[in-house]
Assembly symmetry: none
Homo-oligomer: 239 residues x 2
Amino acid sequence: MAVAKFAEIKEHMLTQIEIGAWPEHSRVPSENELAEQFSVSRMTARRALQELTEQGILYRTQGVGSFVAALKSQSSLLEIRNIADEIQSRGHSYSAQLLQLTELPCPAVIASALGLKHQQQVFFSLIVHYEDQVPLQLEARYVNPQQIPDYIQQDFSHITPHLYLSQVAPLTEAEHTVEAILPDHFTCQHLHLKKPEACLRLTRRTFSRDGAVSLAYLTSPGSRYRLGGHLNFALEKRS
Amino acid sequence: MAVAKFAEIKEHMLTQIEIGAWPEHSRVPSENELAEQFSVSRMTARRALQELTEQGILYRTQGVGSFVAALKSQSSLLEIRNIADEIQSRGHSYSAQLLQLTELPCPAVIASALGLKHQQQVFFSLIVHYEDQVPLQLEARYVNPQQIPDYIQQDFSHITPHLYLSQVAPLTEAEHTVEAILPDHFTCQHLHLKKPEACLRLTRRTFSRDGAVSLAYLTSPGSRYRLGGHLNFALEKRS
DNA sequence: AAGTGGTCTAGACCACTTG
DNA sequence: AAGTGGTCTAGACCACTTG
């Protein structure tokens, strides 16, 4: 079996939702209807519905039916994922636009965060990440040149800074801050926002074995992006 | 069927792991072994194993077996803190204003999240949390009345819902979503926002041993609140 | 009464890893 | 070759919501 049948059904349903054929809160086919349409047993149709429900894409009510949940891009809070992978794992196309890749004298805040001296040179990259041609995130990143001397020679339209950094300086630690902000004019422009709207801003400082590597400001429109996480405490009680 | 068979098997396995009978990375019974032990079909035993795997409690390898996963590292980004403690630990004064504490017929989305039936009664509380007399967070919370029958009798101007819930139904699991939104008029009013500004909204679903306990929407002005965290990867490599 | 989702059975064939 | 997990079938009974 090249592709599982339940996966094909999920794929089909996701497509219907994406193209808007099945709007939010509309009813989707029942287990029995899907089973007949795809010539599978009810258990297989059920699995497709069930997994989409666990992913937060559908919600179901016994005796009533299954419905499309409100949709948004979602990423995990717990893991630091490469945004390209994240987008592609949703079955969408990823692309990037490199706006800047330069060397700057280090602003005081950045110097302090990266353990550099004020006015020392620091690498800076500015990139827009697109999901299916729609800007999902503006990434402004300062990189410690002592740790990553070749940063400025990379082609960041083909590899994300995150992926490159994780290859040359494996991540050992990260610090996050999450804020809601109203973006400035410049950010609005690059995120194709006609009017300023609430944006999520992640500030992420990453560390490798030898200390602070980079400080990134990741800004995404609130209407297109959210962070999701899952915590499990069952096993933590023991220690 | 009072309690589903797959749930009983999960319960049993969780207990074994919690009491240390099944240490990290040790092998747990196979689908066939569990099916025989509990006199159920393999599909039912499989479901128990599968759900524990999705919860991150087990990991499985085809042809080899199922194993107890490693402890998750803690992330203060998602650390579930009592907001009263959080405010007081900054040396500020905490107070709360109870706006609503009622019983409602359950909306479909809430029912699905809490494992309740549509239109069944659900408890609802609405509270504003103040830091030094300034509103910091609007908390709208739906609570499973089957698990927390006395919720509606509590005095939430003196104890936060989070603290009360953690006392009567210890947290085993939590799911988070973080979004940036523009608040509606009602929210603006209670957060004393003259104009709508970007707000952080945490959606938090909490679980106890017996299932979903509550679903909370926590909304805070972006200018007054942010989430901060620290991730350590040394222990996280598992999959 | 008809349709929905929730649970379960007792089989089946498969791909995979191990001794 | 024996055991594991992965997928699937064609039934069954149930609780629930709706017309």
